[in-house]
């Protein structure tokens, strides 16, 4: 019996049953061969370690998340401040040398990696999802592009300078030195001093190229274009609409002014556009787009390029309308009209920026300079615009400015003939025509509704008075014919009737016979 059990059962050595730690107690398979006491010790240690690890991981994730959130916030606030004016942190970055940009770029990269990691890590799944959704929209468009642009510009600049060999190295050295010296003192300088510094740098560099390296004047122009592009991309954030000036205030004033002048028409400015021709209105739209686009460029030359393109579209429009080349007599009013229509963002700031930091030769004699001068004229004209400059009487001008009169639609008294003639004189904009028609219909509707309301009120009054009338009539009649109830004498049915009407009772007749 005992032998059989030994054979059939599992052979277990005595030593196997003891605790693996060798404490002398018996172990248990469930505790991995340890006795209860040893197992508790061991288990506690492992668990503690596990808890610590988990804690560390959680902390790490938390940090990453915060970092990512902060950078997104940064990007967002950057976009906000780009719309406003003070861009100090970004400005700083844009001034520091190339290495910083590399750093910035790698930062961007790591952030992206952590976002991806988080996406897969289970502990913060929901947070990561939200993060990536939030992060997707603003960061690629603003945060990265700004850095990317500057990077691209520096790269282009280097490539360009490589072709120039020895002068190229010198130019690079000069530009770097200039940027560093300017970044050191930029907080002490006003806008005009900064402008002077940059202009002096242009002049000195050009002189040096001609005098020292014997570069031809054509290539000096090319070099200066590149230098301007490189330097102004770097300086843009700190010198565009700086806080030391009242450019921003002027921008707002101009913007409000243009808004207040929304009623100015082609006829008042004597612009030779015929917007009924589709090509003309197409060119007008293009010109408006170009002048608005100016604000998005950083380099003065690119901004001037936008103005020039805008001007070319205006010339096309005039050419199509008048069938002859446009003179300044046609061009300036047209440009004023376009500026009024477009209300370009930060107009004064842009004008000031170009005046301060553009290469002077381009501004003074070039074609771009001519168009820019015209834009300055347009801005000055709009600022000082009064009744006389639109051939209006002061009273009329006041009426338009206060919004009492409108050149587009005479809604003041809803006169039928007036509004009809108004829509005849309208430019052929189909939307406006439609709008006018809708307004007509609405005013018609409102008059009809008023009539309806009146009728309803009348009906109500009628109803009320009708009941009153009926009541009064009834009362009248009642008064006139008071109720007379004849007093009825109640008598026995048989008394008088029988006595009067009935024939006398038959008396028996006796017949003799």
């Amino acid at each position: 019996m005992s032998r059989r059990t030994e054979r059939r059962g599992i052979h277990v050595d005595q030593s196997d049953l003891l605790c693996k730690k060798g404490c002398g107690y018996y172990g248990n398979a469930a505790w991995q061969g340890l006795c209860s006491k040893c197992w508790r010790e061991e288990y506690q240690q492992v668990r503690q370690k596990q808890i610590q690890d988990d804690w560390a991981l959680a902390e790490k994730l938390q940090r990453e998340e915060e970092a990512a959130y902060a950078s997104i916030q940064g990007a967002q606030s950057q976009s906000h401040s780009a719309a406003a004016t003070s861009q100090q942190p970004q400005a700083h970055a844009s001034l520091t040398p190339f290495s910083k940009f590399e750093e910035k770029k790698t930062n961007e990269k790591t952030r992206k990696v952590t976002t991806v990691k988080k996406f897969f890590s289970p502990s913060s799944r929901t947070a990561a999802k939200k993060e990536s959704q939030e992060g997707k929209t603003p960061s690629p468009s603003i945060g990265r592009d700004a850095g990317f642009d500057t990077d691209q510009v520096s790269k282009d600049f280097m490539d360009f300078l490589k072709n120039l060999q020895k002068p190229g190295r010198d130019i690079h050295k000069q530009c770097r030195a200039f940027l560093i010296s300017l970044s050191n003192k930029k907080h002490d300088l006003g806008a005009d001093e900064l402008s002077e510094c940059v202009q002096d740098f242009y002049q000195n560099l050009a002189d040096r190229l001609i005098g020292h390296f014997k570069v031809s004047s054509e290539s000096v122009e090319q070099v200066m274009d590149q230098v301007e592009k490189y330097i102004m991309t770097r300086l843009y954030k700190s010198v565009f609409c700086p806080e030391t000036t009242d450019d921003e205030k002027k921008d707002l004033a101009t913007q409000n002014r243009i808004r207040a002048l929304h009623w100015v028409t082609i006829q008042m400015l004597c612009v030779s556009f015929d917007e009924e021709i589709p090509e003309v209105s197409e060119n007008v739209v293009k010109a408006i787009t170009d002048i608005i686009e100016m604000d998005s460029k950083r380099v003065p030359r690119d901004k001037l390029g936008c103005i020039t393109r805008c001007s070319k579209h205006i010339f096309s429009a005039i050419r199509i309308t008048k069938k002859e080349p446009a003179s300044a007599d046609d061009f300036l009013p047209a440009l004023i009209y376009i500026v009024l229509k477009a209300n370009p963002p930060r107009l004064q700031s842009n004008i000031q920026y170009i005046t301060r930091f553009c290469i002077p030769s381009r501004l003074m004699t070039g074609e771009d300079g001519y168009y820019f001068t015209n834009l300055c004229c347009a801005a000055a004209f709009i600022e000082k615009l009064d009744a006389q400059s639109l051939n209006l009487s002061p009273e009329e001008f006041e009426r338009y400015m206060s919004g009492q009169a409108s050149s587009r639609f005479s809604s003041s008294n809803g006169d039928v003939t007036d509004s009809a003639s108004g829509s005849d004189a309208m430019p052929s904009n189909p939307v406006l025509v439609q709008l006018n028609r809708n307004l007509d219909m609405l005013s018609d509707l409102s008059t009809r509704q008023e009539a309806l309301n009146e009728a309803a009120a009348k009906l109500q009054a009628d109803l009320l008075s009708w009941t009153e009338n009926v009541k009064r009539e009834v009362n009248d009649i009642l008064e006139r014919y008071p109720l007379q109830v004849p007093s009825r004498t109640v008598s026995a049915i048989d008394t008088n009737n029988i006595e009067n009407n009935l024939p006398p009772p038959l008396t028996p007749e006796v017949f003799a016979g």
Binding site: F178, S181, S217, A328, L332, S361, M364, T365
Partner: protein
């Protein structure tokens, strides 16, 4: 702009002033494109035109800026003629009001730009038969002389007097530029030509001290 082969290249800015519809456009189109009232005029615009000249071996780039002549834009004049080397003032000889406008312009130009600017007063003739009365012509010429300007009679239709007028204007502008160069002395002469008509004058004194950031590099 210096030493490219022969002489120096001058860049001049000339503003074109005159009342609206006195025919500034046809004048400048005739000069730059040699076209008058022609179906073949292909240029998009006649408000900014350039002309390259060669005068006594010197290359001259002429940029002609048209200005809006309407009365309501009169106040914008200074923005246009800032830093210009020459001005062409156009009037219609049959319209003495337009000559009065010219007088106003001259007064303004002399006040703002002093004697640095060379002036040409141009009387536009539509038809050759149109003649001034004797008295008027004396008045006009003596006025031009009194303000240091030259007077011309031109006709864009007949292509008369325009070429001569611009040529003379260029010569006078070159003389002015050269005189200015000499004034600046020998030291600055190499940069003077490139600065001429280009640099804002106020920057001149600061150029040397702040130049440190550039030359030290």
């Amino acid at each position: 702009m210096a030493a490219t082969g022969g002489g120096k290249t001058y860049s001049f800015k000339v503003v074109l002033l005159g009342e609206g519809c006195v025919g500034k456009t046809s004048l400048v189109l005739r000069y730059c494109e040699n076209k008058f009232n022609d179906k073949h005029i292909t240029t998009l615009q006649a408000s900014f035109l350039t002309k390259k000249l060669n005068i006594t071996g010197r290359r001259v780039n002429l940029a002609i800026w048209d200005t809006a002549g309407q009365e309501r834009f009169h106040a914008l004049g200074p923005i246009y003629y800032r830093d210009s080397n020459g001005a062409v003032l156009v009037y219609d000889i049959t319209d003495m009001d337009s000559f009065q406008k010219v007088k106003n312009w001259v007064k303004e130009l002399r006040k703002m730009l002093g004697n640095d600017i060379c002036l040409c007063i141009v009387g536009k003739i539509l038809l050759l038969q149109t003649r001034f009365s004797g008295g008027a012509i004396v008045v006009v010429y003596s006025y031009a002389e009194s303000v240091g300007a030259k007077h011309y009679h031109t006709s864009a239709k007949l292509n008369k007097g325009i070429e001569e007028m611009f040529l003379d204007l260029c010569k006078r502008m070159m003389e002015t530029a050269q005189a200015e160069e000499r004034l600046k002395g020998n030291g600055a002469s190499q940069s003077a030509s490139s600065r001429r008509g280009v640099q804002i004058v106020d920057d001149e004194p600061q150029a040397t001290p702040t130049g440190g950031c550039c030359s030290s590099g």
